[in-house]
């Protein structure tokens, strides 16, 4: 019983506390609507980046088209909530589900041919695919409003909703990665041939992981579509896929908590550089190159931040520091 509490209880309590903090902060109007928007976008980016991390960090395949999956999720959820009259909460849940599912199906369509191949092909195919989605959205004028955008979407998503979705996605990803399926996926990353030889159906798991990855990207997109009252295909350019990818790389490929940390960090950086858009991308690029040359595994590498383990880790660190410097002082 105690170990179960240690495993999940601490995290659950922490999540509930942070939920209430956020809730009261919102209730007391400490956050203005501009800052609320910034936080919502940051959380949505983190959700999509967690999805991307499953494909890139855990499966080890470079995917450069997640803006495309996000667009699919955003447009399908937006079109759905625009078409039907439902109470907000039901519309939100079904919109998220539909957005995720349709993006997931697209992920299957693209993953089945691309993932049979080895090497850099997935990067190219997803990249091309993301662009294809964008051009298709621009071309299907009657359905999506074309380049001028889709208007008149009800604004359903709130900050609290996105927070809850983020928590659910994070928890799900953790459980997924630590399940039997997750271990199979990590085995493919470590050595595909070895995994195959011990009986892991590699193609199946690659497609499976990619489905989950695009599903989560679709969820993020759905939240986005139901928050922004109008959608334009311009948002989902190749550069946006790269930005999502940068969040994953910064946080560490294969670390979900790292993605969250990096998402928050980059969103803050983006706020500071708000009026210098070119400079922001320039700084991202320089950071990316330096990171690859000097610390290619990102902020957290493959390890996860853990509330349960943090006290022990800090203690271990203190002991280590004492051993190194303590003698001189004493």
């Amino acid at each position: 019983m105690k170990s179960l509490f240690k495993k999940y209880g601490v995290n659950v309590i922490a999540v509930v506390i942070s939920y209430f903090i956020l809730f009261f902060v919102m209730k007391m109007n400490l956050i203005n609507s501009y800052f609320e928007g910034v936080m919502i976008f940051a959380m949505i980016n983190i959700i999509v980046a967690i999805g991307l991390n499953i494909a890139t960090g855990f499966l080890g395949e470079l995917a450069l088209g997640h803006a495309g999956f996000m667009a699919v999720g955003a447009y399908s959820a937006a079109l759905f909530v625009r078409a039907v009259e439902l109470p907000d909460s039901i519309a939100l849940i079904s919109g998220i589900f539909i957005g995720g599912l349709i993006a997931g199906v697209f992920g299957l369509i693209i993953g089945i041919p691309a993932l049979r191949l080895r090497g850099d092909y997935l990067a190219i195919v997803t990249l091309g695919f993301g662009e294809m989605i964008r051009y298709t959205i621009i071309n299907l004028r009657t359905l999506t409003g074309g380049a001028s955008g889709l208007r008149g979407i009800p604004k359903i998503t709130t900050l609290m909703d996105v927070f809850v979705v983020l928590i659910i996605v994070t928890a799900f990803s953790f459980l997924f990665i630590r399940s039997r399926h997750g271990r199979a996926i990590i085995a493919i990353r470590e050595n595909e041939i070895a995994a195959e030889s011990i009986g892991v159906p590699t193609t199946f798991y690659k497609v499976y992981a990619f489905f989950v990855s695009s599903f989560i990207a679709g969820i993020g997109g759905a939240c986005f579509g139901m928050y922004q009252q109008y959608l334009t295909p311009d948002k989902f350019k190749f550069m946006f896929s790269v930005e999502l990818f940068i969040i994953v790389v910064f946080g560490g490929m294969g670390s979900i908590t790292g993605t969250i940390v990096a998402g928050i960090f980059l969103a803050t950086l983006a706020e500071f550089l708000y009026s210098y858009e070119e400079l922001r991308l320039l700084i991202y690029a320089v950071l990316l190159i330096l990171l690859m040359i000097f610390k290619s595994d990102g902020i957290l590498g493959r390890s996860e931040f853990s509330l349960v383990k943090t006290p022990t880790r800090i203690r271990a660190l203190i002991i280590k520091l004492k051993k190194r410097f303590g003698k001189g002082v004493a």
């Binding site: 190219i124 298709t136 190749f238 790389v249 070119e278 400079l279 290619s296």
Partner: protein, 287 residues
Amino acid sequence: MTQFLNQIINSLNVGSIYALIALGYTMVYGIVRLINFAHGEILMIGAFVGYFLATTFSMSLIPLLLLSMLACALIGMAIDRIAYKPLRTAPRISALITALGMSMFLSNLFKYIFGASDKIMPPVKLIGNIDLPNITFLTMTITVICMIALEYTVKKTKAGQAMRAVSEDRDAAQLMGINVDRTISLTFAIGSALGAVGGVLYALNYGNLEPYMGVMPGLKAFVAAVLGGIGIIPGAMVGGFLIGAIETFVKGYISSSWANVFVFGVLIIVLLVKPTGLFGKNVKEKV
């Protein structure tokens, strides 16, 4: 009928530019197994160098082209030295991310320095006081000259032999006394110089240039390289012309806005049917 002939001429025009760019991708991939995402930006830099030589020195095309090639060759070598060389032994994914970062860096650097607005390519003379011939004719002539020169370099010269050897087996090449680093540098230089030619021709064909101009032609040329079989030089040439043809014919007969969808669709179909590309050979996997 005339429309059809026009389309063919158009497709050869666009295709030769794609082929020139695709050659850079394919040569670099062949030798270091890296998708050089920054190659599209090399095209952009080539076009910008051409633009500045044409506006500030009102230079004619031939010296302008040569100087732009030289500048891009140096930049290509510098990129390899600064960003890719430290990562030769790192996992491939790190090198790819670096390439992506380099691409972002160059396009945003140019945007930061020169602004995002379009620049108009001024009219240039061919050389001295001779007027520019028909642009399609010019593009194709320059492309053919470049390809013959490349083919000669790769097949007949010692440096070309070294390049082929390194792309076949780097370690064995090194054991035979080939300077691998220098050969890789040379490959980047040649690929980037061809990219510069592509950039200048692109700017001449479309008339304007901006910092993100390299992204789309870069991606399409990359599709062309994969279509022909990445790492194979004749494959890139054929792939470039094929992509040019597909794009032009979809634009001419179906709809101009669907052209890009078709180009990327072709990529996915190729990878489904023959993942090694038209000219690629199946490579047996060794454990």
